[in-house]
């Protein structure tokens, strides 16, 4: 049997820089830091009820990365009858790291990139814990 992967799903909220931070953090993890253990799926596709995507979600671990307290990624995953193994909110990390401030929505700037690094390095520890067996 194939080893379970971790599906990382950001909210990608389009109206706020923290939405971009959630998206970039996901890419930092799935394309760079834990390429072999992780992948992402399109949140919109999942919520539109795509069977293949829902099946992938249910066969693997799942973590959600939301920008704000509306927790759209988490709620949409739960609506597919999957409880995320871990859920994160960028706003919490931003509050704990006031020196790492994202600048814009298209370009989050150096502050935003630093925040991405901080969040991603925190999350990969949890991913390693989830997948240690």
């Amino acid at each position: 049997m194939d080893k379970k992967k971790v599906i990382v799903i950001p909210c990608s909220g389009i109206g706020k820089p923290i939405g971009t931070v959630s998206r970039e953090t996901t890419y930092e993890i799935v394309e760079k830091l834990r390429k072999e253990k992780c992948q992402t799926v399109c949140l919109a596709l999942l919520t539109s009820g795509d069977k293949e995507t829902i099946e992938k979600l249910n066969k693997n671990y799942c973590i959600t990365i939301d920008g704000c307290a509306k927790h759209c990624a988490k709620k949409n995953v739960e609506a597919c009858n999957k409880i995320p193994d871990k859920s994160y909110m960028i706003l919490k990390f931003a509050a704990a790291n006031p020196d790492k401030k994202p600048e814009g929505i298209i370009d989050i700037g150096n502050g935003g990139s630093d925040l991405v690094d901080t969040v991603a390095s925190h999350i990969v520890k949890d991913i390693d814990e989830l997948t240690k067996d």
């Binding site: 919109a44 539109s48 298209i106």
Partner: protein, 142 residues
């Protein structure tokens, strides 16, 4: 109701932002170009995950105002969700219709110059469509 209250002031733009496709990032960048640079006063965005998760304000806006959806692939998630919760969209754009068969798009995180060019072309199309919608609404209300 006053006649002016019927006048459309903003067009809602809904991007699929599909995370697992380069075209999803192109849809997002094209949408943001219009929202933030080309038509900041004539448009507003609707956050698709929030919309689907039950954002009543966004659903009501999309029900009462024209919407343009920008999807990355043929699955048309943004269009389908908007029509499911709010009604028929005014215009639906599929990023793949702007990519010719010789062009390969491959970056999800940082678009290359060719991918940015495609996003720019799509932003122009959205922007022109916004003008058409607002003009039509003006002449209707004049």
């Amino acid at each position: 109701m006053e006649e002016n209250e019927n006048k459309i002031k903003k067009v809602g733009i809904v991007s699929c932002s599909g995370e697992d496709l380069p075209e999803g990032t192109i849809s997002r960048i094209a949408t943001l170009e219009v929202l933030l640079k080309k038509k900041p006063f004539g448009t507003t965005t609707i956050c698709l995950p929030l919309f689907i998760a039950g954002g009543e304000g966004d659903r009501l806006f999309a029900k009462n105002n024209p919407t343009i959806t920008v999807d990355g692939c043929e699955k048309l998630c943004a269009k389908k969700a908007t029509e499911k919760y709010s009604g028929k969209v005014t215009c639906s754009i599929n990023v793949r219709n702007f990519i010719n068969s010789n062009t390969k798009v491959c970056n999800k995180r940082n678009l290359n110059s060719r991918e940015k060019e495609i996003a720019g072309k799509i932003a122009d199309v959205i922007s022109n469509k916004v003008d058409d919608i607002l003009k039509e609404s003006k002449s209707y209300n004049d």
